[in-house]
Symmetry: C2
């Protein structure tokens, strides 16, 4: 998709730079330069850099769930879809050279009283968790398992986040692979 509209150019460039370099290390100047637009054009679409950040986060949210739907399109069982969450993240981290979660990155960068960013991060993560809980409910598990459904969901989600973090730090998808195999046993 070649961007023809200025807004598209801005979003495409901001997405790339915010994620790869970080929000604070990416100046407005660099964005307009690489997007080949002028500064007032940017401020015509966004009233501030923070506004552009929020638009970036909203786009990242939508893309994440859309891409997940595509990734799991052929899968029918809840078990497969649970395991796919790990594979989905592995594939994304390999593509981005293990830069980690965009929302975690940003929420570590901005001020703690930036409520707009805080709420978006919270919603993103808790929607993923809700997805895990939903899938676990659909599983047909024996009654005598070690963990309850709630506990299993909590464990899967927590390991999904923890192993993603370690994948970033170690620049390796091994933590995600290990977590995936453990989850298989816990179900």
């Amino acid at each position: 998709m070649k961007p023809v509209v200025v807004l598209d150019k801005i979003m495409e460039t901001a997405e790339r730079l915010f994620y790869e370099q970080g929000y604070n290390l990416t100046g407005i100047n660099q964005i307009i330069e690489e997007a080949n637009i002028s500064k007032p054009s940017l401020y015509n679409h966004f009233k501030s850099k923070n506004d552009l950040l929020l638009a970036y986060l909203d786009q990242a949210y939508s893309k994440w769930f859309e891409d997940l739907a595509i990734f799991t399109a052929g899968m029918t069982t809840p078990f497969d879809r649970l395991i796919a969450l790990f594979d989905y993240r592995i594939s994304r981290q390999i593509k981005t050279d293990f830069k980690g979660c965009a929302f975690v990155k940003i929420s570590g960068e901005v001020s703690n009283d930036n409520i707009d960013v805080f709420e978006r991060t919270k919603k993103y993560k808790n929607d993923i968790k809700a997805h895990v809980i939903d899938l676990v409910k659909q599983l047909d598990r024996p009654k005598d398992r070690l963990l309850s459904n709630d506990e299993l969901a909590e464990t899967i989600f927590s390991m999904l986040e923890g192993s993603l973090l370690m994948a970033k730090i170690n620049k390796s998808y091994q933590p995600l692979e290990d977590a995936k195999n453990i989850v298989r046993k816990l179900v």
Copy 2:
């Protein structure tokens, strides 16, 4: 401990501001102002802002393990010490109003090719993991448990990180409490 030496003032102020506001949002000007020193004095001790950051990380590393040793001083069994890892983090997060892990925050802020920061973060996290592995080995577990020792250690560590992240995002220690209770069952 009232800082009498300039170096102490710098470290104390930098530690507070880097952690509370973030590295990039904390300017040299703010540090010298709140530390009540002059700019050349700071550059007499550190050749750059990045150098000060590295000193801050090294101090945070030492303090974390020292404080853990104090926290677990009275504990004798490996099981208690494993559970204490969660309580230790809960107590710290309550104290800091859920600002999360200092190393994770920083590694999300700096450039990915800042090797000095990257290596320190890696060492910090993997030393915690090594500690978990060591404690799990000391456990006297039945042979018929669902998870092997390696798998259990991986799970505990991953949940320790994942639940800490969610504690920060939700500004609640509940994720850490939930993880702790699940770990109790998995051991």
